[in-house]
């Protein structure tokens, strides 16, 4: 067994920083551009397509089972709204309860402050390495990179995080970070980078998980500090709740002497009793389990059981900005189940990368622009990364109308660009179109002129190339030649 503090070869630990760099690079890119390499990656397409189909089918079966599923969703929606509507009160109550139970609450206005707090806490323990349970919030705050830069070795405790760490890439899925990797790729990554991986390792998922287990368990016993997220925080009792399948969270919150839990302020629910709803919704919507294999709940510190120090870092990082938007705030109901990813036809074809570093899939398209603003072209492109097909809203366990919020955010993007001194070509086009449509005569004239042009562009009854913005359509799709007479011409002559 490895001595405490002795790190794995630093390929593993340092892998985290390049992964972050890759995420940072994709963040600077519009969704459509960032999606192109993923669309061309045939292996990713096949693996991801099959994996999300499996996830989707399991969740659908699990949601179909309880006769009261719709009542649970309605209750979930209402209690998440209730949490948000009195968020200040609940946060203060949470702080009192956690402090009363021997924990310490820290408040981080943004990711940089969360990084300062966590690096400071880790340094104070003198630990040279920390265990990290899978957590989207920990990633959002950029903690792994910050700790690595502070000279602390970050050991991902989860199998998915281990795989994407070895691949030096950003996670592609909310609950299964390495879902885009097939078994052969995982085997290759293990043979290349996982210490102690047997040379005759097969590509059976059970064997791969076994090899990861041997490696991960070899290292956990000496860990002194762990960093985790939380699924929920009950405001009245100060109880933190974590759901998981693999035991990595349990390991983090029971073995090390210091536990640091980083959670968004949106994770608060009014009362412990509310878990009776959320613990039915989350597992079924997320993994299709009736109950996730492990659910842990802890309130401050428990003398004689688990960490002696518990630090809860409450992260804003844009959440209050989202809360200020009366339409957009419904996005904060999200319980991070991934159901919307698994049914999204866009996500299924691109994976998580093009959505940037915060959250993938429809939830990312909806939350990232709210948390980070729409000033950058990349964030502004996210609300448009959807056909508004509505499959996500159908399955959302807390009934977030994701397409409606995306439309709302598209409006936010357009409004934010109206005041620019030079209008965007799209604004000119859309204004012109609206002006034309605003009057029946103008409209009729434009249709006549437009269809005449279109007929000139056509060959054999179809148009194969259109100019300008419309060229994106004819890159892959024909347009039929328009008929000489419009409907209203026909109607007028009857």
């Amino acid at each position: 067994m490895t001595a405490p503090g002795a790190g794995p070869p630093d390929a593993l630990a340092s892998a985290i920083a390049p992964g972050e760099a890759a995420a940072a690079a994709s963040r600077a890119t519009r969704f459509a551009d960032a999606a192109r390499p993923a669309l061309a990656d045939t292996r990713l397409r096949r693996t991801l397509g099959a994996a999300v189909a499996a996830e989707r089918d399991r969740a659908a079966a699990a949601a179909a089972e309880p006769a009261d599923w719709e009542e649970l969703r309605e209750a979930g929606r209402a209690l998440r709204d209730a949490a948000l509507l009195d968020l200040d009160t609940h946060l203060e109550s949470l702080e009192r309860a956690v402090t009363g139970a021997g924990g310490t609450v820290h408040w981080a206005a943004d990711a940089a402050e969360a990084r300062r707090i966590v690096v400071g806490l880790v340094r104070a323990t003198g630990a040279r390495d920390v265990l990290q349970a899978p957590s989207a919030t920990v990633r959002e705050a950029g903690l792994p990179g910050a700790l690595a830069r502070a000279g602390v070795t970050v050991r991902p405790a989860g199998l998915g995080d281990l795989i994407v760490g070895l691949g030096e890439e950003a996670p592609s899925h909310l609950s299964s970070p390495a879902l885009h990797r097939d078994r052969a790729q995982v085997r290759e990554l293990f043979l290349r980078g996982l210490p102690g991986a047997p040379a005759d390792l097969s590509d059976d998922p059970a064997d791969l998980a076994g090899a990861a287990r041997a490696h991960l368990r070899d290292r956990f016993t000496g860990a002194r500090v762990a960093v985790t997220g939380a699924a929920f925080l009950a405001a009245d009792t100060g109880t933190a709740v974590l759901t998981e399948s693999g035991g990595e969270g349990r390991m983090c919150l029971t073995l090390p002497g210091t536990l640091i839990t980083v959670a968004g302020i949106d994770k608060v629910v009014p009362s412990w009793t509310d878990l009776e709803v959320l613990l039915q919704l989350l597992p079924r919507a997320s993994s299709g389990d009736r109950m996730t294999p492990y659910v842990s709940a802890w309130t401050g510190v428990h003398p004689g059981d688990g960490p002696r120090e518990f630090h809860l870092v409450l992260l804003d990082n844009g959440r209050t900005r989202a809360l200020a938007d009366e339409v957009g705030r419904a996005a904060l109901r999200c319980i991070r189940c991934s159901a919307c990813l698994n049914v999204c036809p866009v996500y299924e074809r691109t994976g998580g990368g093009p959505y940037g570093p915060v959250l993938p899939g429809p939830v990312g398209a909806m939350l990232t622009p709210q948390l980070r603003g729409v000033e950058s072209a990349a964030n502004a492109s996210l609300p448009f990364a959807s056909t508004l097909c509505g499959a996500c809203a159908d399955v959302c366990p807390v009934k977030i109308d994701i397409p409606a919020i995306l439309v709302h955010l598209r409006g936010t993007v357009v409004e934010s660009r109206r005041a620019r001194p030079v209008p965007t070509p799209e604004l000119v086009l859309m204004r012109g179109l609206a002006w034309t449509m605003g009057d029946a005569r103008r409209y009729r004239l434009a249709v006549r002129r437009g269809t005449r042009w279109a007929r000139l562009l056509s060959r054999g009854g179809r148009i194969r190339r259109l100019p300008g913005l419309l060229g994106k359509w004819t890159d892959a799709r024909d347009v039929p030649a328009p008929p000489a007479r419009s409907f209203r011409d026909w109607q007028g002559r009857r």
């Binding site: 029971t254 659910v295 059981d305």
Partner: protein, 213 residues
């Protein structure tokens, strides 16, 4: 201004002066099992058994005077040489055990000792029939959380009267001030191709003995 006050101020600004009151949460969901799910106490036990099995755990029913024999048989079956148990485990549960070294905790066993042990035997605080879940709260016969995490095999004794029908019933029974671990089947992962495989941490084998008093 501290970040605490800054965040709370932002929250208040975001919600505005006229936030209104949250409408009551509609709680039309089932709090108890429906008659279709379980009409009698025997149905509840049958449902628990079915759901535990579907969670890929082993489940057996024993009479109160058979617990010792059943525990011993299960551990022999796994060829366990060293096990860990909470110090307050009922004595009778290990009474039939021979040739197996049982280490009690407390005194606190270090993680290496836990990792070198083949099994852990505990009781539980409550169970949920509908989801096939056992819940441990660190109380009698359950030990601290690390005990049921590190060894690869967890044998959990559940008394029939500990089994509630639904999640709301068991949430009402539990004390959130205690450290709670809900266990629904062995450790699992679907991180590779969404195919279920034994998980990287936690017992890969869970066996539940239902004691019918």
């Amino acid at each position: 201004m501290s970040s605490r006050d800054e965040i709370l101020r932002r929250v208040r600004d975001a919600l505005g002066g006229d936030r209104g009151t949250a409408p009551p949460v509609p709680r039309g969901y089932a709090r108890r099992l429906t008659a279709a799910e379980a009409a009698t106490r025997a149905d509840v036990l049958a449902l628990f058994t079915e759901r535990v099995a579907e969670n890929r755990a082993t489940v057996r029913h024993v009479a109160a005077d058979e617990v010792g024999t059943a525990v011993a048989a299960a551990l022999w079956g796994r060829e366990a040489k060293q096990i860990v148990v909470p110090a307050d485990l009922p004595f009778g549960w290990l009474a039939e055990l021979e040739g197996v070294r049982a280490l009690a905790d407390p005194p606190v066993l270090d993680a290496e000792t836990l990792a070198a042990s083949d099994a852990v035997v505990t009781g539980c605080a409550a169970a949920v029939a509908l989801t096939g879940t056992v819940v441990l709260d660190g109380g009698r016969a359950q030990g601290r959380r690390a005990l049921t995490l590190v060894p690869d095999y967890h044998l959990c004794v559940v008394h029939a009267d500990q089994i509630a029908g639904t999640v709301p019933e068991v949430v009402a029974r539990l004390d959130p001030a205690r450290p709670l671990t809900w266990i629904s089947g062995p450790s699992a992962t679907r991180d590779v191709e969404s195919v279920r495989a034994p998980g990287p941490h936690g017992p890969r084998h869970l066996e539940i003995l239902v004691v019918e008093d």
